[in-house]
């Protein structure tokens, strides 16, 4: 099935052709080691290096950040990133590792940064030369993010930070962190300020990173402790006291509802990655697995459940398509704000169903030689809870949708 360039401008059509042509000859070779499921699970230097080299190559070819202004390292185009994303996905390209940078830090810097900050920070971000992480959550501030207590205190020209961030994905590889701090204990929403903080350079100088182990046994997120950690005032984003507004820009983009389309790519090279974890993977799986001596694909209840997942997968893609057609959308945030909710539940329910299809074999860990589909599904099922919790839990997403789109009373 193809989707035509019907409503595309000549610039967009030329850009699509460029993407296709470049991707046809420049996908990286499959690595000798196992790639992680997604950027949140990058655990080793060799995984990181491979993925950063790929993002850099795609960036150099103009497929990353093409809608950003040229002076900030972008391609200076308009409304083309989604075309690159579509072609990258169609080509089965590996994902980009700098997910926090591309999806959250970059748009926030564009909207709130100074000219100097944009020129300094954006080009190496787009090129994956500098990895970013997000220091928002704290032990006492999760869903209730505005409760952050990490405190930045004036210290001459600059600031000193004390506090405790948690669940900080990619901190162990990061050059930079977007950091939400309290600067006024007397006011909740107006008492926060937003910084970009050096991470790697600060280790041992007031900044400590402690890895946390996920329920899958994998590494990926961390605790970050600040102990009178110095930060220059030139690294403050927007005004003192405007941290919450800046954080809202970040969150809107994190949830796929921001004004700038995040560069994104396919699941990866080979068969041990997210690309093969779509609902279409269920069909082949059901033909290979057995239930009561017959192919699982003959079981009427499983057939119904598999087709339901295929329908939901298609609906998700068609929501994305419809979101770009103004005449067929009502509230402008209605579809964008559903993105994270529907995608994470699609992944979770797909993986749960896959485990059901596997039957007894779903007990096998991915290190077991007999595990079907290389043990990806039980692993993906566990991992899916990261998506339904992170970036604002799905319960909180439902609050936001109910309040912002349906106008229901705020639950705070």
């Amino acid at each position: 099935m193809t989707e035509s360039a019907h409503s595309e401008s000549p610039e967009q059509a030329a850009y699509r052709a460029h993407c296709k042509a470049w991707l046809a000859g420049n996908l990286p070779p499959r690595p000798s080691f196992r790639l992680p499921l997604g950027p949140l699970e990058i655990a080793t230097e060799e995984q990181l290096e491979y993925l950063c080299a790929w993002q850099k190559a795609a960036y150099s070819a103009g497929l990353v950040g093409c809608d950003y202004p040229g002076e900030y390292g972008g391609g200076g185009l308009r409304d083309c990133q989604r075309i690159a994303n579509h072609e990258l996905k169609a080509a089965g390209a590996p994902f980009f590792p700098n997910i926090v940078g591309l999806g959250m830090a970059a748009p926030t810097i564009v909207h709130h940064g100074t000219e100097a900050q944009k020129r300094r920070l954006l080009p190496p971000l787009l090129a994956a030369e500098e990895i970013w992480c997000q220091g928002f959550s704290e032990p006492g501030a999760g869903s209730d993010l505005a409760n952050v207590q990490t405190f930045a205190e004036r210290d001459g020209e600059g600031w000193r930070v004390r506090g405790h961030k948690v669940w900080t994905t990619l901190a162990h590889f990061a050059t930079w962190m977007i950091l939400l701090c309290r600067t006024d204990r007397g006011r909740k929403y107006e008492g926060m300020t937003y910084f970009v903080a050096p991470v790697r350079a600060g280790v041992g100088k007031g900044l400590t990173i402690r890895p946390l182990v996920k329920m899958t046994g994998e590494l990926g997120f961390n605790e970050v402790l600040f102990d009178d950690y110095p930060i220059g005032d030139d690294l403050r984003l927007d005004e003192v006291g405007r941290g919450w507004q800046v954080a809202m820009t970040t969150l809107l983009h994190e949830r796929g509802a921001g004004s700038l389309v995040t560069p994104s790519s396919g699941g990866g090279v080979g068969d041990d990655n997210a690309a093969t974890l779509g609902a279409s993977g269920l069909v082949e799986l059901a033909k290979r697995c057995h239930r009561a001596g017959k192919p699982a694909s003959d079981d009427p209840r499983l057939r119904d459940a598999i087709v339901e997942m295929l329908i939901r997968e298609r609906a998700f893609a068609q929501n994305e398509r419809r979101a770009a057609v103004r005449a067929l959308t009502d509230h402008p945030l209605r579809l964008p704000l559903q993105h994270k909710l529907t995608l994470s539940e699609l992944l979770q329910d797909t993986a749960r169903l896959a485990c059901e299809i596997e039957g007894a074999a779903a007990t096998l860990h991915q290190t077991d030689a007999h595990a079907p589909a290389a043990g990806r599904w039980p692993h993906a099922y566990m991992n899916s809870y990261g998506f339904t919790i992170a970036a604002g839990s799905n319960e909180v997403q439902r609050n936001i949708l109910g309040e912002r789109v349906l106008g229901l009373a705020k639950s705070k």
Binding site: M1, T2, E3, S4, A5, H6, S7, E8, V283, A286, K287, P295, S297, D298, P300, R303, D304, I306, V307, E308, L310, I311, R312, R314, A315, F316, Q318, N319, R321, R322, A324, V325, A327, L328, R334, L335, Q338, L341, T342, E395, R398, N399, L401, G402, E403, V405, L406, G407, L408, A409, K410, S411
Partner: protein, 385 residues
């Protein structure tokens, strides 16, 4: 063939949809609809056929029966994407009219390559309303399932069941079996030997009947498809029929969502609007999520029908499945979240609830569509070695 990224929903489609929204807001508001179809709560009234014929004439003046007819036959030749937009508005208003029946019949006639079909389409474009009489007593519309027979001379005998809006239309498109296979025949509702027997149905916004045919002689120029070719024509039109029904459900579900959300914004309990409570808020969001999935699949299906016929059946079954599920969920929640008032005859929500329940099963419920999709996408049971 390629599919336009914007589904092909163009300015004409937009104008048609906007016009429909306005006309139905003015002439078929929930208050007007309730006064019209729910004036009496007598159980015996269930087999009445109440509709606003003046509104139907306005629809005809706007050319709504002509929208799907090819230009060469006096119609506007608009794509199914535009029709979907129109029908969404009809569903939103839960408007009683023979429009949906006529649109479904239009796609069947358009799939028949005969002078009789072209003649029928010209008459539809000029305002004739038509309904399909293709379902048997057990509720099956599969080509071979048919309780009407045709003699070689074209004389029909038997009964067609579950005929939609039978008492609002002028002509029935009757499926009949003969020694040479299944054919389709255009029969005037007042032709000799035709008896329309109303069904008592739950839905107040349409009527349904079974149609008895006793020695009904159909002249050759009214044979829309000769015996043997009917199955192909019906199969070709089925994706459009499923898409039209999905559009009605998506529009109706959006009414259910907006009406229930409005109630949750204004009804106060425990000193707060009830929408504050997550046991109310979250199901409302889930209604929205299900509607949006169905709506996106709806336009995808319509676009496939217009531009990539090979993909039309899968698209349409997906849309009908998602829309039936959304209709079911939204119907249940719309009553529940209104509380006691939602359970009364006086409250408007039951009108949409009943229309949705009817829509859900027409031409196969969600599970039926998924079973058919499974045959295509997973292979039939027993096929995997």
């Amino acid at each position: 063939m390629t599919r336009p990224h914007d589904f092909g929903f163009d300015e004409t489609a937009q104008i048609l949809k906007d016009t429909a929204r306005r006309l139905l807001q003015d002439h078929c508001s929930p208050e007007q609809l309730h006064r019209l179809v729910a004036a009496s709560s007598e159980p015996a009234r269930a087999s009445e056929c109440v509709w606003d014929e003046a509104l139907w004439r306005k629809m005809l003046d706007l050319g709504w029966t002509a929208v799907a007819v090819p230009e060469a036959l006096g119609g506007f030749g608009m794509g199914l994407v535009a029709i979907a937009g129109l029908v969404e508005e009809v569903g939103r208003a839960a408007a009683p009219s023979p429009l949906i029946a006529t649109l479904c019949a239009t796609y069947v006639a358009a799939a028949c390559d005969s002078d009789a079909a072209r003649q029928l389409l010209r008459r539809i474009a000029a305002g004739l309303s038509v309904s399909l009489a293709i379902t048997d007593r057990r509720g099956s519309w599969e080509a071979g399932d048919c309780d009407v027979t045709a003699s070689d001379a074209g004389v029909l005998n038997g009964t067609a069941w579950f005929v939609q809006d039978a008492r609002k239309v002028g002509v029935l498109l009757v499926k009949a079996r003969s020694s040479r296979g299944v054919g389709l025949y255009a029969v005037d509702v007042d032709a000799a030997g035709v008896t329309i027997v109303p069904d008592a149905i739950v839905d107040l916004t349409r009527d349904q009947a079974h149609v008895e045919l006793r020695d009904v002689a159909v002249p050759a120029e009214r044979v829309i498809v000769s015996p043997g070719d009917g199955a192909r024509a019906l199969a070709a039109a089925e994706p459009a029929i499923l898409t039209i029904l999905a559009a009605d459900m998506v529009g109706a579900a959006e009414w259910q969502l907006q009406t229930t959300a409005e109630y949750a914004r204004t009804r106060v309990q425990f000193e707060r609007p009830i929408g504050f409570f997550q046991a109310v808020k979250h199901p409302l969001v889930d209604m929205m999520v299900k509607i949006d999935a169905a709506r996106s699949l709806l336009y995808d299906a319509a676009c496939a029908f217009d531009h990539e016929p090979g993909a039309a059946e899968v698209g349409a079954r997906m849309a009908k499945s998602a829309a039936s599920d959304a209709a079911s969920y939204c119907s249940g929640r719309s009553v529940q979240l209104h509380g006691g008032i939602g359970f009364t005859w006086e409250c408007f929500v039951h009108l949409w609830f009943k229309r949705q329940k009817h829509n859900e099963v027409l031409f196969g419920d969600a599970a039926h569509q998924r079973a058919r999709l499974a045959d295509r996408l997973l292979g039939r049971i027993g096929e995997t070695a």
